[in-house]
C-alpha cells in the first residue's frame, strides 16, 4: 500500500476560495461554502484515477495556508470537496493542512487552542518553515503531543539554499516526538510545483536545489522518519511509487528505507496523527477490571474450596490481561500503533482506534469467569450483551 500525502488542491479550488474571501467582510457566514465547479471536480477525478493507476492507495489532499491560520478568513475547502469525489474501493482520501511559515509567522501562526475546532477536521497538519526561528518552533513546540500537533515538517527543497542550518538537535527532537520530514518529488521532476507557495523555484535551478536540499535532509535524518510524497500540480509530473523509491535511493538512502518512505513510514504517521484526537496522544484508556463478582457471591454463602481457587485464578488472569493491555497503548508517541488499530486506519475510520483497544478486556474477563463456572446468571448475561454490542460495533466499523 503506497501513500501520496501531498496532492495540492488549493490552486484548483482557487476561484471558489477567492470568491468567498472577498465576501468575508460583509457576510462571514458564507465562508463555509466553497463551490467547486464541475470542471474542477472532473480534473481532480482524473488526477485521482491517475494516482490509483500508478498504484497509490492513500491520497491526502493538501490545502496550503500562507503565514498564519486566520480564523476569520480560513475556509476548509477540503470538507466540501471530499463528498463530491467518487468513492473507490481500496482508496482512502485524507485531508491535510499545510501552513507556510516565514518571518511574519514567528510570533504565532494560529496553531493555538482557540483554533482547535478549525484544525480538528484535518487528518494531518504540516508545517513549511522558511526561517531558522520557525524551523526550531516547528521542531520543538509543534511536535509535542496535543490536539494541534504538526506531524509533518515539509522543508522548501527547491529554494536556492536551505535558508537555515538543519541543526542535529532540533531534527533529533522532532523525530523523537514522532514528526517526519517530507520530501516532495515534484521538485526533482522540475514541474511548476505548488504555485500557491510563494517560495517555489521551478525549472532547472529548482531541480539542482532539490537534489542538494533533499540530500541534506537525508543526511541529517540518517534516513529515519522520511516520507516522500508528490506535491505535484501538473498531472504529467506524477510518478509511480516504485519509481519514486528508486529516485529517493539515488539520494543515498538504502533501498529498503527508500521503499518505506512511501509505504510504512507514512502509514504509521497517519495512525500517529489520529492521536491528535485523544488526550496527550494516548490511544486507549486501560481499565482495571477486578473480578469482585466472585467475592460478592462468596460473602452471603461461603463455599470454600472451589471458589477460592477460582478467585486466585481470576486475579492472575486479569492481572496479566491488564499488564498486556497497558503495554499495547503507546507510552510515547514514538510507537503508537498496535497492529489491530492499523486496520482501522485502513478502513478510514477514526473513531475505532480508541474503541478497538478496549475491546479485548471485558470479553476475555467474561471468558475467564465463565470457564471458572461462577454461577451468576444476570451478570454473565449482561456481559454477554456487552460483548455482543462490542462485536456489533466492530462489525459495523470494519
Amino acid at each position: 500500500m503506497f501513500f501520496d500525502l501531498n496532492v495540492p488542491v488549493s490552486d484548483l479550488g482557487l476561484q471558489g476560495s477567492v470568491h468567498s474571501k472577498k465576501s468575508k467582510g460583509k457576510q462571514p457566514q458564507q465562508l463555509h461554502s466553497v463551490a467547486f465547479t464541475l470542471a474542477q471536480i472532473k480534473a481532480i477525478e482524473t488526477r485521482v484515477d491517475l494516482l490509483v493507476h500508478l498504484g497509490y492507495a492513500v491520497i491526502a489532499f493538501n490545502q496550503t495556508v500562507d503565514k498564519r491560520l486566520d480564523p476569520k478568513s480560513h475556509v476548509n475547502i477540503l470538507d466540501s470537496l471530499l463528498p463530491q469525489i467518487r468513492k473507490r474501493t481500496g482508496v482512502i482520501f485524507l485531508k491535510r493542512l499545510t501552513i507556510t511559515l516565514d518571518e511574519d509567522s514567528e510570533k504565532g501562526f494560529g496553531l493555538t487552542n482557540a483554533n482547535a475546532s478549525l484544525v480538528e477536521p484535518y487528518d494531518l497538519i504540516a508545517l513549511t518553515p522558511t526561517t531558522a526561528t520557525t524551523f526550531s518552533l516547528a521542531c520543538l513546540t509543534h511536535t509535542l503531543p496535543s490536539s494541534l500537533t504538526a506531524h509533518v515538517i515539509s522543508l522548501p527543497l527547491t529554494l536556492p539554499r536551505l535558508p537555515f542550518h538543519l541543526k542535529h538537535t532540533l531534527v533529533r527532537t522532532a523525530l523523537k516526538n514522532g514528526a517526519v520530514f517530507e520530501i516532495n518529488y515534484a521538485g526533482a521532476i522540475g514541474g511548476d510545483g505548488d504555485t500557491s507557495q510563494m517560495n517555489h523555484v521551478s525549472g532547472e535551478s529548482g531541480k539542482r536545489n532539490w537534489w542538494a536540499a533533499a540530500r541534506e535532509v537525508v543526511r541529517v535524518t540518517k534516513g529515519k522518519g522520511i516520507i516522500v510524497s508528490g506535491g505535484v500540480v501538473t498531472d504529467a509530473d506524477h510518478r509511480a511509487p516504485k519509481d519514486v523509491g528508486n529516485l529517493i535511493s539515488l539520494l543515498g538512502l538504502a533501498r529498503n528505507i527508500a521503499h518505506d518512505a512511501s509505504a510504512s513510514v507514512p502509514k504509521s504517521l497517519v495512525l500517529r496523527a489520529q492521536t491528535r484526537r485523544t488526550y496527550r496522544a494516548v490511544l486507549s484508556e486501560p481499565r482495571l477490571v477486578v473480578p469482585n463478582r466472585a467475592e460478592e457471591i462468596l460473602d452471603p454463602a461461603p463455599t470454600p474450596q472451589p471458589t477460592g481457587d477460582a478467585r486466585d485464578e481470576g486475579h492472575s488472569v486479569n492481572l496479566s490481561q491488564v499488564q498486556n493491555d497497558s503495554q499495547s497503548p503507546p507510552t510515547s508517541s514514538e510507537n503508537p500503533a498496535p497492529h489491530n488499530v492499523l486496520n482501522a486506519a485502513v478502513s478510514g475510520n477514526r473513531k475505532r482506534s480508541s474503541d478497538q483497544a478496549e475491546l479485548d478486556l471485558p470479553t476475555s474477563t467474561h471468558h475467564s469467569m465463565a470457564s471458572l463456572g461462577v454461577s451468576d446468571g444476570g451478570e454473565a448475561s449482561q456481559k454477554k450483551k456487552k460483548k455482543n454490542k462490542n462485536k456489533e460495533k466492530a462489525g459495523g466499523n470494519s
Binding site: 504529467a236 509511480a240 528508486n246 529516485l247 539515488l250
Partner: protein, 150 residues
C-alpha cells in the same frame, strides 16, 4: 568467469491528454540518453552507454523493454523516471516490472499487454464474445516478444 549481468526494465509510457504522434524505439533511446546526460552527467552516461538498449517497443500499448547493465541500473531507472517528454510530448514513464532475466521481462510484457487490452475493451464496453482487432494484436505481440533474444 562470471557472466555479464543485466537488468530489464519494462516501462509503460502513460500519455497525458490526447495522443498526437506515435513513438518508436529510436525516439525513446534518444530521449533516455538526453535524460541520463542531463540529470547525471557524462560520467554516468559512460557507465550505462555500452549496455543501454531499447529492446522492444509496442506503439499500441506504449510499452518498452529496456536493457541496462546491472551495476548502474538505478541510474538508468532514475533517468527513466526523470523523463518528462519524448519528441515534445508530455508523458509519465511508469516502470511496471524490473527483472534480471529477459525471460521474466517477456512474461511481464505479455501479461501487461493483456491487461492493457482488457482495459481498452472495458472502456469500449463491447459484449462478451465480441471479436475485435486486439486478438490479432495480442497474438502478434506475444510472438514478437517471445522472439526477443538476449
Amino acid at each position: 568467469m562470471v557472466r555479464f549481468k543485466n537488468r530489464w526494465l519494462l516501462v509503460e509510457f502513460i500519455q497525458s491528454g490526447t495522443q498526437t504522434a506515435t513513438l518508436d524505439g529510436k525516439q525513446i533511446y534518444a530521449a533516455l540518453k538526453q535524460s541520463v546526460i542531463h540529470n547525471f552527467g557524462d560520467a554516468a552516461w559512460g557507465a550505462v552507454a555500452m549496455s543501454l538498449t531499447v529492446k522492444y517497443f509496442s506503439p499500441t500499448t506504449n510499452v518498452a523493454i529496456i536493457r541496462v547493465a546491472r551495476d548502474h541500473h538505478s541510474i538508468a531507472w532514475g533517468a527513466v523516471t526523470l523523463l518528462t517528454s519524448i519528441a515534445g510530448q508530455r508523458l509519465i514513464p511508469n516502470v511496471v516490472h524490473l527483472s534480471g532475466t529477459i525471460k521474466h521481462a517477456q512474461l511481464a510484457a505479455i501479461q501487461h499487454n493483456r491487461q492493457v487490452v482488457a482495459r481498452f475493451r472495458a472502456l469500449a464496453n463491447t459484449p462478451a464474445m465480441y471479436q475485435d482487432s486486439y486478438d490479432a494484436f495480442l497474438d502478434q505481440s506475444t510472438k514478437e516478444i517471445e522472439a526477443l533474444q538476449d
